[in-house]
């Protein structure tokens, strides 16, 4: 204890969260006890703890009482590669459940330099505003000049007005219009999934600006530096070659070859025109630049030139969602669609999934928008603009595929490509049945980052087309690993460089914080975080029926190139989910058991 009576925080932490009510700009400090930090680490883990503490049960995600948390981590600001990351956490307007999205940029470093482990925004500003936070505190400023701007333009404008030392996470027009899958962006990186931009927009906040000079001590600075040097050198090895050389888009042709590339709203799992959109093809036909996130030595970002000299950052997920999923094969149109999503501030996966569902509805005569057809790149660009402005058919599609299908009816819910309301990423669940489980049970909804179960399907040790108990266990392991990586925070593209992940992560954490944490404790921390997310969802009305896949995937056969027909019988998925509940120590309805409740503030006093 210091002379002032304040208990010093562990290394890498300040031990406090700034909570700002933007209704009047008032700010309070929430102390974060060491027990909470050790139990939830930071990022997504600390974010869910904050939600369980601060979100009123049943809160409207777009209402003023809903908290929106920007959460840093003990590793932010250290020289450890890929550590400049932050999590944005809230109750999702898309799913009505927890969502947490990560992004990597200097915003994480500057945000932590304000002297806080997290910043929570509540309330609703009386007029469009920016929230600026530095070591002096918080203030609201007029955002009228940036109204309607793309996030990147708003960032630039804010820095031009207030100084370049500010870093700003901003929403685009879609966030201002309450599109339920709007993003929050900084420096071209996006906290993409679950509609966090709509939550921020509902608070009348265009951008959160941060800057500061507060730095937490590290428990063993010298050891952290040595670990950083080692990790950096390992990050240049074969485990990250794919990301460095071609980026995540190199998945496209590989996934096409193994019938797991969702095409035309999951009506097929291969796309004949895939080579036109592939990383290998694009790298040959146009200039490509590589870039890295702040503090990253991998450099996975690949920026391709498109028509008119534009530069577009390309990932597998945006190309899959706006290309094969919508049947569009023209690379210029797909790159332009991706750039349009970035400019509007919308999640490419949810946009692509919702549009593909609408295209199928048009094919089936269920939706009166005859121009919106699979394969039509111009229609794709038009509908994106309508979604961003909530005009025309965009008013319906801005709600996401689940709500849109509820409104349209006529059986269209059976092929709405979502879990819990969140649109599905680019993995065909019938040919990746570990992933099928991961998609079904994950707290965030259909998600490939909180459950990386596709790893088990692609490693070759299991029959990916026939889920069983070993697939369940593999899916649980990937969830646990993700829970720690998303909370420490380290980039998942580093995962292949760790041979004994929990033990190695514990060592890193120990050097930063001074805790004598080991791999077993960290594994338990992972389980606690996964459980806390589920507990939040249960509180917000989740039921076991939400852990399920759309009807399209169940009992309907899909033929592989080998001639083998694969199916995912509903009974098999049910059995896998029941096994997941049992292995996770949940009750038969998938609810955390009472004795496994999350750490509460009162327990930590």
């Amino acid at each position: 204890m210091t002379d002032s009576g304040h208990i010093p925080a562990p290394g890498g932490y300040f031990g406090k969260t700034l909570v700002v009510d933007v209704t009047d700009g008032s700010a309070t400090t929430l102390e974060l006890p060491e027990r909470v930090l050790r139990d939830y680490l930071g990022g997504a883990g600390l974010g869910v703890w904050l939600m369980n503490e601060l979100a009123p049960p049943g809160v409207d995600p777009m209402g003023p009482d809903a908290p929106l948390a920007f959460v840093f981590s003990p590793l932010v600001g250290t020289p450890l590669t890929t550590s400049a990351k932050f999590a944005v956490v809230a109750k999702s307007p898309l799913t009505g459940l927890l969502t947490d999205a990560l992004a990597s940029s200097h915003f994480a470093i500057s945000g932590k330099l304000t002297g806080h482990d997290a910043i929570v925004v509540t309330g609703r500003a009386p007029a469009p505003s920016h929230l600026l936070i530095d070591t002096e505190g918080a203030r609201l400023v007029d955002a009228a000049p940036e109204s309607g701007m793309a996030a990147s333009d708003a960032e630039e404008s804010l820095r031009a007005r207030y100084g370049r030392r500010w870093r700003a996470a901003s929403i685009g027009p879609a966030g201002e219009h309450g599109v339920r899958y709007a993003t929050i962006s900084h420096d071209g990186r996006h906290a993409g999934r679950g509609g966090l931009g709509a939550v921020m927009g509902a608070k009348n906040i265009k951008a959160l600006g941060v800057q500061g000079s507060a730095r937490p001590a590290l428990a063993d600075q010298k050891a952290v530096l040595a670990a950083a040097k080692d990790l950096r050198s390992r990050s240049f090895g074969p485990a990250t070659a794919k990301y460095r050389e071609l980026g995540t888009l190199s998945n496209l042709l590989a996934f096409n070859a193994i019938s797991t590339l969702p095409t035309r709203n999951f009506q097929a799992a291969t796309f004949a025109e895939a080579p036109m959109l592939s990383a290998e093809g694009l790298a040959e036909s146009r200039s490509v630049a590589r870039n890295s996130c702040a503090s990253c030595s991998i450099g996975c970002e690949h920026i391709y030139a498109s028509k008119g000299g534009k530069k577009t950052r390309v990932e597998y997920e945006n190309v899959f969602a706006l290309g094969p999923m919508c049947g569009v094969s023209d690379p210029d149109q797909v790159l332009e669609a991706s750039a349009r999503c970035d400019a509007l501030g919308i999640d490419t996966i949810s946009a692509g999934g919702t549009i593909a569902w609408a295209m199928e509805c048009v094919d089936r005569g269920l939706l009166d928008a005859p121009w919106l057809r699979f394969g039509d790149g111009a229609a794709l660009l038009r509908v994106l603009a309508e979604i961003g402005s909530r005009t025309g058919v965009g008013e319906l599609l801005a709600e996401g595929s689940r709500r849109a299908a509820e409104r349209i009816g006529q059986g269209s819910a059976a092929f709405a490509p979502h879990v819990k309301g969140m649109e599905m990423p680019g993995y065909e669940p019938r040919t990746m049945q570990s992933m099928a489980l991961g998609l079904a049970v994950n707290a965030r909804g259909a998600d490939h980052n909180r459950s990386g179960a596709y790893e088990a399907d692609l490693k070759g040790g299991l029959d990916r087309a026939h889920g069983a108990s070993e697939h369940v266990r593999a899916a649980i392991q990937t969830e646990d690993r993700a829970a720690v990586m998303d909370s420490m925070i380290l980039c998942k593209f580093l995962r292949g460089v760790f041979t004994d992940p929990f033990a190695e992560w514990a060592q890193l954490l120990s050097k930063v914080t001074g805790w004598d944490v080991d791999g077993d404790e960290l594994h338990e921390t992972a389980r606690r975080i996964v459980r806390a997310k589920r507990a939040f969802n249960v509180r917000e009305g989740w039921t076991a029926a939400d852990d399920w896949l759309p009807e399209r995937f169940l009992d309907s056969p899909l033929e592989l190139a080998s001639g083998r027909t694969v199916t995912l019988p509903a009974a098999r998925l049910r059995a896998m989910i029941d096994t997941y509940y049992a292995e996770r120590g949940l009750d038969p309805q998938g609810r955390p058991l009472p004795q496994a409740s999350a750490t509460s503030a009162t327990e930590t006093e």
Binding site: G237, P238, A239, T240, A241, K242, Y243, E245, L246, T248, S250, N251, L253, A254, F255, A257, I258, S259, A279, E280, A283, E284, C300, Y316, H448, G452, Y454, E455, D457, L458, K459, G460, G461, D463, R464, A465, H466, G467, A468, S469, V472, K492, F493, G496, L560, A561, S562, G563, R564, P569, A571, R572, R574, A575, M576, D578, T579, A582
Partner: protein, 300 residues
């Protein structure tokens, strides 16, 4: 048994059983361990059967028999008594397979040209409506002989086979006298277009008994396969587009296109015909296969 394992028992169609024992008197050495283009006969046969069944592959070995390296998913069961012939192995194998699936393809280890299309064609002989139907054995009839060691069996026949053994009736023909056998002649088998294309001579049933059989079989060219490379494997080698090579295993296919799997430290995998994904160099290839080398770190 977990909940999901119980469900799996219900929706698996077939397992594989490979009998690895036997005296190999004429060969003079255990056939299971015979070298086969950088792999072994048993490794190859178990791999080929595994490609055609959705249940596990079970190897039945003689007491104390040492086996060559196998895919770790292969289940090994011991034959409690040595030298009692194929019926003993059949009883053990079917009893083990019954835990996983209603049907099993059963074969010996000495079939170097066994093709997964043959296994699939035989299992298809059980027809729709099984397991409620009444076929107990699907028995190929090729080259003038019945082929009980390359045939399909209901796994619930295990107790009947044991009874026959107890009664000293030690030949598969004794079983066939008592149960419903569906015989598939060559024309019936070759009516399957995939099998007709992959193995028109039905060499799948060609067994090697003597050293000269083995040498002749080994002298045949390796299967003709197509290799594709994706991602950095394509861009770095400047080798976009498919290549045709002769290779009996994934490792050989990689080597033929200048890809050193070991240099990539387990970060390269191969998908065979867009289906099963393998990382082990000894995984067998068959004529007509397309092998796609991909990054093991797919995702993100």
């Amino acid at each position: 048994m977990t909940i999901v394992d119980r469900a799996r028992r219900l929706d698996r169609a077939a397992a594989g059983v490979v009998l690895a024992g036997g005296r190999s008197t004429r060969m003079g050495t255990a056939k299971a361990a015979l070298e086969w283009h950088g792999s072994t006969l048993l490794r190859r046969v178990t791999g080929v059967v595994g490609r055609a069944v959705d249940g596990p592959v079970i190897v039945v070995r003689a007491p104390g028999q040492e086996l060559p390296a196998l895919d770790p998913r292969v289940l090994v069961h011991d034959d409690p008594a040595e030298g009692r012939g194929p019926m003993q192995g059949l009883a053990v194998g079917l009893a083990a397979a019954a835990e996983h699936a209603p049907f099993a393809f059963v074969c010996s280890t000495d079939l170097p040209f066994l093709h997964s299309a043959f296994v699939a064609a035989v299992l298809r002989g059980f027809g729709p409506g099984e397991p409620e139907g009444h076929t107990d054995v699907v028995l190929p009839h090729v080259g003038g002989y019945r082929q009980p060691m390359a045939a399909g069996y209901r796994t619930d026949l295990a107790p009947r086979v044991e009874k026959l053994i107890d009664a000293g009736r030690m030949r598969p023909a004794h079983l066939f006298e008592e149960v419903t056998v569906r015989q598939l002649d060559e024309a019936m088998l070759l009516a399957d277009p995939r099998l007709a294309d992959a193995d028109p001579e039905l060499d799948s049933v060609l067994n090697v008994n003597a050293p000269e059989d083995y040498r002749a079989a080994r002298a045949r060219p390796e299967p003709d396969v197509v290799v594709e490379r994706f991602g950095v494997l394509a861009t770095k080698s400047g080798a976009r587009g498919p290549s045709r090579v002769r290779a009996a295993t994934i490792g050989a296919a990689a080597e033929r296109v200048g890809l050193a799997l070991e240099e990539h430290g387990g970060h390269i995998l191969a998908a065979i015909n867009g289906d099963q994904i393998r990382g082990d160099a000894e995984a067998p290839l068959e004529a007509g296969d397309t092998v796609s080398f991909i990054s093991a770190d797919a995702g993100g």
